[in-house]
Subunit: 205 residues, 4 copies
């Protein structure tokens, strides 16, 4: 955890450090990221860094914690009012807000991609802990299942995973030209594909 000293810093300085870190971690894998570059970009003295963070891991944890909280906040704000439409309904509802948020933070996605590819113990640990957070969403899917939207023989956790992995990969093209619109369409396609695929078979007769 960052030191109290860090949290007592003027907002602007804290912001500078944070975005320097985001920039670095979105361009280099964790192992490759350079504290040297970060302090240079943030414009803080080399020594100060170690008064705010114990090491690179400490900084990284701080960064992804902040980002994770932002993301969750957005999803919940937009998903909450439409819980009756099921999980996929909630996803659809929050989609525009999420896309806009990503638009403002081009680097966040890239950090995720690096994280996904890194199986070092430190990063793996973070990923595993993040997966635990999906429990709440799995509950939504279980409710959908009870409501007859999803066939009984399908594991909701698995369905969520397929959605997560496929949509995550889609976002790789987010910042390509025209990527935003394409993804919007593709996500709709994906949801449809999975909705149809997960629908009870009786319904199809």
């Amino acid at each position: 955890m960052p030191t109290n000293t860090f949290f007592r810093l003027p907002k602007e300085k804290r912001r500078r450090i944070f975005s320097a870190a985001v920039k670095e971690f979105s361009n280099f894998s964790f192992a490759c990221a350079s504290i040297n570059r970060i302090v240079r970009l943030a414009g803080i003295p080399r020594g100060s860094f170690y008064q705010y963070f114990s090491d690179k891991e400490d900084l990284y944890m701080h960064v992804i914690t902040v980002i994770g909280e932002e993301k969750m906040e957005i999803f919940q704000r937009f998903a909450a009012p439409v819980t009756q439409t099921g999980f996929f309904g909630a996803v659809k509802a929050s989609l525009p807000a999420v896309l806009e948020w990503l638009d403002c933070h081009p680097d966040y996605n890239r950090i995720g991609f690096f994280m996904a590819g890194d199986d070092s113990p430190f990063i793996k640990g973070i990923r595993d802990r993040a997966n635990l957070l999906t429990d709440r969403i799995v509950s939504m899917l279980k409710a959908d299942q009870k409501a007859g939207l999803i066939r009984e023989d399908l594991d909701p956790a698995f369905l969520l995973q397929v959605y997560t992995d496929a949509s995550f990969a889609l976002f790789r093209e987010f910042y390509a030209p025209g990527g935003r619109e394409k993804i919007s369409r593709r996500l709709t396609d994906l949801i449809e594909l999975l909705q149809q695929g997960a629908a009870p078979r009786e319904a199809s007769l």
Copy 2:
């Protein structure tokens, strides 16, 4: 490309170098991978390395080329006899062999994960070139579409991407305890999910 010198090396030495490289690239992103560590592990002098490979990129290309060829060879061997069952049939047919191959090479997957998360020009280039190779598979899916197995309004390339991304992510758990069996089941589920999701809607009336 590796030098002729490299290919003339005694098999055992070549193997030592290759697996040292695989180990390194499966634990570190390309930029982060250390030739020093590789030569130390392979037990060859620093200078010798550069008689075999022109640089780190050369080594990396060699590694993924070899792995890619192995993989393709396996897929084709098992997929060829069952082309009439469509793409998903072919995948199902080759699955056991692929899983066994992965069992023997725990690191191969991790190289792929690092590659997926790396947006450096060199790695991106490799990924893009690899994507071109999917054309053949897309053709299979188009044939399936003509044969009425896939609804007309679905882009086969997109369907393939969903399958690729989701299955790719599944393999992350391959080496976890019990992972192999779980994946086997999950892949079957995934194929079923997508087959049903992609099926023409008339069928459901």
Copy 3:
């Protein structure tokens, strides 16, 4: 430019680094000069060097800048009072001081010789920029031309170049035994030779 850190260093340490660099650059072409040898001779850690200079080019620029300033300072101090004697008069006036200065810095000349023979972009760029500085001296010669000391059909820039090239080469023998006195005489001869060669032809009728 060297970092502020460098300029804040204790004088003695700075001197040690500077003369280590002079020694290296006077014995090796720029490309060939070794920072390792420099830090070893200066007695500073490898890493410290890069806290003082951004790279080898930075160090080189610093060295020739300092030397160039010293040289210009001497020339101007002695040339200023005798501008009415024309360019060659000014050269003659500053000669003893320049020779004494060179006597104290045997290596400075050799750096120049290496520079003259080096056509790498970096060194060529320095040379070109240095040539621009000769404009002021060309003006002196043009004034001499108006004053009737130099015939009209002779390009002053060319005359200067001949003087520069010939005198520059003379200095090669500066540190040979008896070289100093010889050069003193030779330079006088050279000036006389060129003065007579450049004199208006009417005078000879």
Copy 4:
């Protein structure tokens, strides 16, 4: 000296090695020149080099010997028939041939420039030995002096040196666009300048 083995080599192979060496020595100072690059460019095995030359110095000596002989041959061929016009006459006579020769061998000049800037013992030794060869030319100038073309109080060796150094420097621009014509003119100017400067003073009254 190169080994007999070298001289027994097929002409074409010898030529390849020679021009690879010329290319290297015209782009790098002697200390910086790389045998690796030379053998690579010449397309000969690494080991062969050491069967032809004992080391880098051996190769270098061979190169400048060959070039020196070519140059002297040309000068003599064109200077011989016009000895009665004095040294400067001979220079003028051989000028077109020399310029054409240089035109065919852009690299030869650059080797000379590197040599001129290098005060390492090995290179210095070569230069000193080359200077001894000028004796013959000094004799020409002494004859001119007796014939009344050069004033008595001027050291012919010195006059030659001034000419050599100034003309040598001129050639630096030989390969610049329009350089050839410019040099041709400049050399004429130079000769005139020195002829007038060296002329007996009585003649001018």
